[in-house]
């Protein structure tokens, strides 16, 4: 027995390692309500701990490399490449290198300043509360398109916050660590964002493909969709606010999995492969600066005066409608209500003919329903012997009096008088 373990030691260790990792994989996947298997978007505590350790180990050197701006290039340029040269011409070369470094550093600082300035300008104009963060690393494989930021929970970042640049959207915060955060880019195969095509208003889901290009999927073939059309966020995913630029359509390709559907390959507006600084939307409640607040107040006051004018118009229309005749049955005499009112008024001494008082507003006449039921005003049911007839009290008002002149006072319900 002992010889078996000694003889197959390597294979047994291989087996144990593989089984352990397969079991580990099994607890990380779950079945969706649709019956599909997918990775659990929320890591379990153990998995999260492993990620935290890995991140804690990799982040400091990444941060250091990023802060030195030229990172590995600096080491290469100043050690491996120039080692022999420095020995031969130490003083002169050191001075030249120093100047070059300073120049490069200044240039890089200037570029960074310009970028930050534009970010700052965008941030001030932007309605939502944002935080600027620097990109310090990635996953190292094109199968997982994620970035690491130099800000984390301590800066107020949380899961599912939108990450953008002034050019367009970048991705969403997938995992947050104490001092760093992982961002899932929009060109990853597992990402998803609700988008809308600007011109055609067709909605779809933005998702990455194997080549790392974002594509709008789940859209029916439509001849109106053309390359060059802008793609914007639709705002329905509760991550990205609506209307943010996503990119432009590069080409339309048929969906390989579904007939009749196409995929619109998108050129992302944000430079996803060369990001240095990004903005994270930490609060989607709009925050307005002073200028925006003033503009809004002015627009509000203008809207107020417009509303007052509209209310005036409304009031005038109401007065006018009160003075005009209401609904009249088609069988009523073709006598103008206003004229009738004027005539009646002049007859009974209340009309404008005598100039004493204004003509009372004519009450609208209700048409007689063809089949009255219990919802008909004045209806008392079929127990009165004639189903479908209205109550006697309501009769004068509901039944037109074709023979009589359309006198408003006569058409009022009896109870009114």
């Amino acid at each position: 027995m002992e010889s078996f373990f000694v003889r197959y030691r390597n294979l047994l260790v291989l087996l144990v390692l593989l089984v352990a990792q397969i079991l580990g994989l099994a607890i990380q996947v779950h079945r969706t309500p649709e019956g599909q298997i997918s990775l659990d978007p929320r890591d379990s505590r153990g998995v999260r701990l492993i990620r935290l350790w890995a991140n804690a180990m990799v982040s400091p050197p990444e941060r250091a490399a990023e802060s030195s701006k030229s990172g590995v290039g600096w080491i290469w340029a100043n050690y491996f490449d120039l080692r022999h040269v420095r020995q031969q011409n130490q003083n002169l070369q050191a001075e030249v290198n120093q100047l070059r470094l300073e120049q490069a550093e200044l240039l890089e600082d200037a570029r960074e300043g310009q970028r930050l300035e534009s970010l700052e300008g965008f941030q001030q104009k932007y309605l939502y509360k944002t935080i600027t963060a620097q990109v310090i690393g990635g996953s190292g494989t094109d199968l997982s398109r994620v970035l690491y930021l130099d800000k984390g929970k301590d800066a107020g970042l949380a899961r599912d916050m939108a990450v953008i640049t002034p050019d367009g959207i970048v991705g969403k915060v997938r995992e947050v660590y104490p001092h760093s955060a992982q961002v899932l880019l929009i060109n990853d195969q597992t990402s998803g964002a609700g988008v809308i095509l600007e011109q055609t208003r067709i909605r779809g889901i933005l998702r990455g493909n194997a080549e790392g290009q974002p594509a709008v999927v789940n859209i029916l073939a439509d001849q109106r969709i053309k390359p060059g059309e802008k793609v914007l966020t639709a705002g329905g995913d509760e991550i990205f606010p609506r209307g943010l630029p996503v990119g432009t359509i590069a080409k339309i390709v048929p969906d390989p999995d579904r007939d009749g559907f196409v995929q619109a390959i998108v050129n992302p507006a944000a430079r996803l492969n060369g990001l240095d600084e990004v903005l994270i939307i930490t609060d989607i409640e709009p925050h307005f600066n002073e200028k925006q607040l003033k503009d809004m107040a002015r627009s509000q006051s203008e809207m107020g005066s417009e509303a007052a004018a509209l209310a005036e118009q409304q009031k005038a229309a109401e007065i006018l409608s009160e003075r005009l005749p209401g609904l009249t049955p088609p069988s009523a005499p073709a006598q103008n209500g206003a004229q009738a009112g004027a005539q009646n008024g002049s007859q009974n001494g209340t009309g404008p003919a005598n100039g004493a008082a204004p003509t009372p507003a004519p009450a609208p006449r209700l048409l007689t329903p063809a089949h009255p039921d219990r919802f008909t005003p004045g209806y008392e049911g079929s127990d009165n012997g004639s189903a479908g007839t209205a109550a006697p009290a309501a009769k004068p008002s509901t039944h037109p009096a074709p023979k009589k002149p359309a006198n408003p006072t006569e058409t009022q319900p009896q109870g009114v008088h």
Binding site: L14, L17, G138, G140
Partner: protein, 173 residues
Amino acid sequence: MAVMMANSRRDIEIHRYPAILYLLAPFLALVLQALLPRWMGRFAYFDLPLIVTIYFALGRRSPIQGMFLGALVGIFQDALTHHAIGINGIAKTIAGYLAASVGIRIDVQNTVIRVLLNFALTLLSSGIYLVIYRGLLGIDMEWNWLNMILLAVGNSVLALVFFPLLDRFQVQD
């Protein structure tokens, strides 16, 4: 063919390295793997942690050490992605085991063998990754075969540079 077989004492000796190198080399490989693709964009066709795993597995000629190194490096790599932890771990465990098993039988100092081994094991590692993702986990994932070939070529070329560099740190008896 006999030239490639490990038949001399030099060929079958177990290479030893300073203890710190066992930690530093994989760690640097992981950090550079996380950093460089960001600067190189889509041209980052290499897998430095796999190169280091293959190197130590070949040099140490111990399948168990190769497996553990592969598993640790792979799990660490998985932890930096948003995928499930263990996919790279399994792929690199098998790569480490095979590299060490092959290292017992053939001359691992031969440059051609090193290049071919790196090419083959990188392809195998990518294939295992795909099989686990699609077959074992049943998750749909698009795959680009050209990228896989380019990755294997990139690893082979880098092995030509890194293997002699790491050879310099060998402890001579």
